[in-house]
């Protein structure tokens, strides 16, 4: 088994466990590899395994009926996905897709249940991890439901227009998110929405304002 104990003890779920405990848990882990853009969990489907990302990155997202995607989190090495269906036995509330080649460490649902019963420290760790996720999701819900992020993103674009040569401040999505008081994922969604409304066009590293009046309307300004 190539699962590295050093990596294993850095997984938040297994923090604070003794070497003997880690070794006993390690025996229950199996490896799974996936290429770029593989769907490794599907919304609405039951899940048989909990996965920890060993290398690579997985995005966790929901898809609307119209096919729009809202990223909920980016799962990096040491972090897990499929937790909810594993712990509550229901269908998966989200989908997960690889953003590049990944190595996953999987654990069967029944094995995870046994670990929780036999290692109280793991149960305590799981509560902490899930509580942090709830905190992150509450923040995202706040952004998506109460804040008119799109109008703030529109104003940020309006306030940072460069000249026709492109001379002007350049902004990353992270910087726009910080300015709008929201998450980077929400900025990405807002930019796509503005493009769909015909106010802007995303052209590689350029955001081209194609309809200034439409942008002003989104900002809530009179034309």
């Amino acid at each position: 088994m190539a699962v590295q104990l050093d990596f294993f003890k850095r997984i938040p779920y297994f923090s604070g466990l003794s070497l003997a405990e880690l070794e006993s848990i390690q025996k229950l882990v199996f490896e799974k590899t996936a290429d770029r853009a593989e769907t490794v969990a599907l919304e609405g489907e039951p899940a048989a395994n909990l996965y920890f990302v060993a290398s690579g990155v997985v995005k966790v997202f929901k898809t609307s009926a119209e096919g729009k995607e809202q990223i909920l989190s980016i799962v990096r090495p040491g972090e897990s996905f499929n937790d909810v269906p594993i712990f509550d036995g229901g269908p998966n509330p989200v989908s997960a897709r690889t953003m590049g080649p990944v190595l996953l460490y999987g654990m069967k649902k029944n094995d995870m249940g046994a670990i929780l019963r036999n290692h109280p420290q793991v149960a305590s760790n799981v509560i902490k991890v899930l509580a942090k996720r709830v905190r992150d999701l509450v923040s995202l819900v706040e952004d998506l439901s109460f804040r008119h992020v799109i109008s703030r993103v529109a104003k940020i674009l309006f306030d940072h227009i460069g000249d026709e040569m492109g001379h002007g401040p350049r902004l990353t999505q992270q910087q726009m998110a910080a300015m709008a008081g929201t998450a980077r994922e929400v900025v990405g969604r807002s930019l796509k929405a503005l493009e769909e409304q015909g106010a802007i066009k995303l052209d590689r590293h350029r955001i081209i304002i194609t309809d200034k009046e439409a942008l002003k309307k989104v900002m809530g300004l009179p034309s």
Binding site: R36, S55, G56, V57, I74, R76, P77, M99, G100, P101, V102, L157, H160, I161, G162, D163, E164, G166, G168, P169, R170, L171, T172, Q173, Q174, Q175, R184, G188, K201, R204, H205, R206, I207, I208, I209, T210, D211, K212
Partner: protein
Amino acid sequence: MTEMPIIDVHKCDGCGLCVGVCHCHALGIVNEIITIIETVNCDWCTDCEAVCLTGAISCPFEIIIQES
């Protein structure tokens, strides 16, 4: 010269997550530091920026007006 994402080598910890997510192979690790390989195939998906935990990669946008 093709515009490419910007690397802050002082922030890069060489984790390589960005290399894995870059579908156009514009990123590589040289001496444990991320290096840009210029390519016209980079479509500014900004995935490399999104996965970087140290903020070492940035994909800034120019904002211009071009009304028809």
